[in-house]
Amino acid sequence: MSAETMTQAVPAAAATTASRRGFGVSGGGITLSLYLIFLMLPIYWLVIMSLKTNAEITSGMTLWPQQITFDNYRTIFTDASWYNGYISSLSYVAINTVLSIGLALPAAYAFSRYRFLGDKHLFFWLLSNRMAPPAIFALPFFNLYSAIGLFDTPWAVALAHCLFNVPLAVWILEGFMSGVPREIDETAYLDGYSFPRFFARIFMPIIANGIGVTAFFCFMFSWVELLLARTLTTVNAKPIAATMTRTVSAAGMDWGLLAAAGVLTLVPGVLVIWFVRNHIAKGFALGRV
């Protein structure tokens, strides 16, 4: 007797309650709630601090601001040296995402559809670049980008981040592409489609989800990386995360401003998570679940 016929013996109502209860662990709700509280507490503290005045932060412990102030945010949005940090961060992240996906699409197609000389080794070599510590590259990148005159531009950071984002994009896209049956390619070629037309008109729409997820991951890893971004910029293209070190001044630490800048770096992340929430897990598994 197969599992399928067994299913019919189980009342449908019982089956739905089981699936609502998660994966069937008692006390699961408590575990999950505790975990989520643990995740949210530090973020709560950051948000609360950004709404307090410095006097209140340093004078004592308050779980809720006595007097809510938006001065910290106002400072950031009116001071060019602050909001330029956001602009340069977002510009190198955008360049990097477009570049990584554009380059990775054909390569991922090659890996998912063909065998060729040295394919396995090439794939491993790409993977190993995703794993290489950025600290190794800080100094040579500094020399390289100074030599070719890209130092302190968003392009330098965008190109440097390709080091780990291009291999990652190839990896994720290859996973998604391998899920598409090869018959589709063959039928299209029989219908007289050329490779570029087939790729743009038929194949890319099919893996649109995968491209979206890949874009999310490229965005994410470029957005959160700082070691290379900081090494390759001084003034003009300085990322927001590096600008945050400015809050240390002669008058001591400006905690409220620091917290407000931190909160603003969370916003783009939260926005993009919302769009890919149903695919995040698959993307982290590099398209291979």
Partner: protein, 300 residues
Amino acid sequence: MDRPYDNRAWLLVLPVLAIVAFSAVIPLMTVVNYSVQDTFGNNQFFWNGTGWFRELLDPSSDLGSRVIASFWRNLAFSAIILAIEVPLGIAVALAMPRAGWKVAVTLVLMAMPLLVPWNVVGTIWQVFARGDIGLLGYAVNRLGIDYNYVSDPVAAWVTIVAMDVWHWTSLVALLCYAGLKSIPDAYYQAARIDGASRWAVFRFIQLPKMRRVLIIAVLLRFMDSFMIYTEPFVVTGGGPGNSTTFLSIELVKLALGQFDLGKAAAMSIVYNLIILAVCWVFYTAMTNLDAERSKEGAAS
């Protein structure tokens, strides 16, 4: 496995090859070049052979002892966070809801720490754990436990481990969740009819299905924790003393802090070789699992 053999596929890979060669091979060549030379400044270099490497791997030299100590420190850190994050991630994944509006909320909340820039992660915890203005530090001190991560190495380690657990457990949980979601309902129903215990369901249905994603999770977590830099640097700056100086922090200190090109380059190469070796082990494990699975697929 029935992919056609066609070397023209290389043409499609060329753009990627070009960009990665530009951003990986050229810098690595620079590093190799530096690692065998010494300089008196003024861009005058002379041949130093394997001198830097010998110094680096010699525990009795100043450089060697520091690097080897930070290697063990880093390895201990990776082991600790893996031992916490993997079981916790599995537990959280098992507790996640499978349907309804709760799924979206849980996923978004869980993914949030992953999207925080790494130095902001450091800043968040630096503030959160401070005894005077941080909720955590204040609460712990009020409980009567003396806790100050600036002066006490144990407290510094606890803070950094807690920070990493906060930052990355969701990754493990999300991966396991993806693995669990791929199990058909029929498996559970069959298990229920067989009267399988909760443990048996986990051991014989859920764990095997998660094996693949767990390998990816361990790979990513090991690699990323082995090259961790920004977060501990922001929180402790490698201190107190050298107690939280991990490999990357040591390397950046050498390369950009002291501009010790030869030593930094030699260390980069050894560091990269270690990473490559570990990466190879995981990659082989992963491809073996793939081959096994496609064989199973062909048999059924």
